[in-house]
Symmetry: C2
């Protein structure tokens, strides 16, 4: 029987100055050698415990980044998406604060705005769009955006992250009520941001229990 | 390089007398020959357009059912889940009204309550749990449960479907307000349910545009 090619691909997203960006890596070999694409690679059955481990290994090898948040997006498949043959790619998306990504940018790794016209190989444009849609949709009712805000942040900084992802200004009072409702933050004792013109603002961080799972706003039918 | 085994598996869910059930199919060959498991099979690159097509083909071959709703759940993977070797299974879940499933039940296809202690091969118990969690979570804010209610239904019938999935009674007034807010139903002209003791109730169906996508309750931050 004809074989199926099995790969993992990664959509690494970060927020630079309020603009959502995706990491693209220059491909080291054919097909599309030298072209900027999502970081990806074959599963290595001898070393990978599962596709998540494979995704983390590929990201480490190509970007040296260990993402604070990684989630399976979906699996993309078909006979035409990869010129080598019928393929499945199990895709993960990672959220990484900009200061971490900034330190990893090299000649082979660059950032591009997700709203830019990107000429990407394979079905990578479609994959980026699916990841951005998932992130924006989940941002409406979960703690997910905190993973783009860095280790510590003030409430106004966090509000700007949510606003960038949702594409609209949010009411400060109602934003703070929802954040309280989600019960996801803890103040960092004794740490204050020294914003220039203002009085120092309390710094917060995600509660440790929420670093690898999301909290949702409870709103049943 | 060691090959990766690539399969699709299906979690076909239905609601029988208010109990959520999963379809299990007697395996025709090793491993686990003769054991009840999720319907599944290899991808056939020569005939499948993608993993979704493969899932529909497998379901058709093993159950003769064409599901009104099918969604990719997730991909499960690793060296130990399948005794044949390192494998990925791209899993889809299907929602099918009970009267359709009932017509397809054979000696090889049976229904089991998802809350039963099921001794399933591979990682199929974990897969069923993930599908049920996804369905229950999405039921809170989407049109998804309608796909378990049949082609036409009264509002009390639909409320019972939502209640069965969410595991709790819902307030009738607030349920109807949410249903109206989702703008997902249309009355079937001239069709009424002839409930015994009550006056005839209007029958509804999902709007055609929503038969293959979901509508969500809009509740942004």
């Amino acid at each position: 029987m004809q074989q199926v090619i099995c790969t993992v691909d990664l959509v690494l997203l970060t927020l630079q100055d309020g603009v959502l960006k995706v990491a693209l890596h220059k491909r080291e070999r054919a097909p599309f050698e030298g072209v900027a694409a999502l970081p990806g690679g074959f599963i290595h059955p001898a070393e990978d415990a599962n596709t998540r481990s494979a995704a983390l290994r590929v990201l480490r090898e190509k970007t040296a980044i260990v993402p604070p948040y990684l989630e399976q997006l979906a699996t993309f498949s078909g006979p035409a998406r990869d010129p080598r043959g019928w393929s499945v790619s199990i895709v993960y998306y990672a959220l990484v604060p900009f200061d971490v990504v900034e330190g990893a940018v090299t000649a082979d790794l660059k950032l591009a705005s997700v709203d830019e016209r990107l000429d990407l190989p394979f079905d990578h444009r479609q994959i980026v769009d699916a990841a951005v849609a998932r992130l924006r949709s989940k941002s409406q009712y979960s703690s997910l955006p905190c993973h783009l805000a860095g280790d510590t942040f003030t409430l106004p900084q966090l509000q700007r992250v949510y606003e960038a992802l949702m594409g609209e200004p949010l009411n400060k009072v109602s934003f703070r009520r929802k954040i309280t409702e989600m019960d996801m933050l803890e103040p960092v004792e004794g740490m204050f941001s020294s914003g220039a013109a203002h009085r120092p603002a309390q710094l917060y961080r995600l509660k440790p229990a929420l670093r690898d799972r999301l909290t949702l706003i409870e709103r049943g039918l």
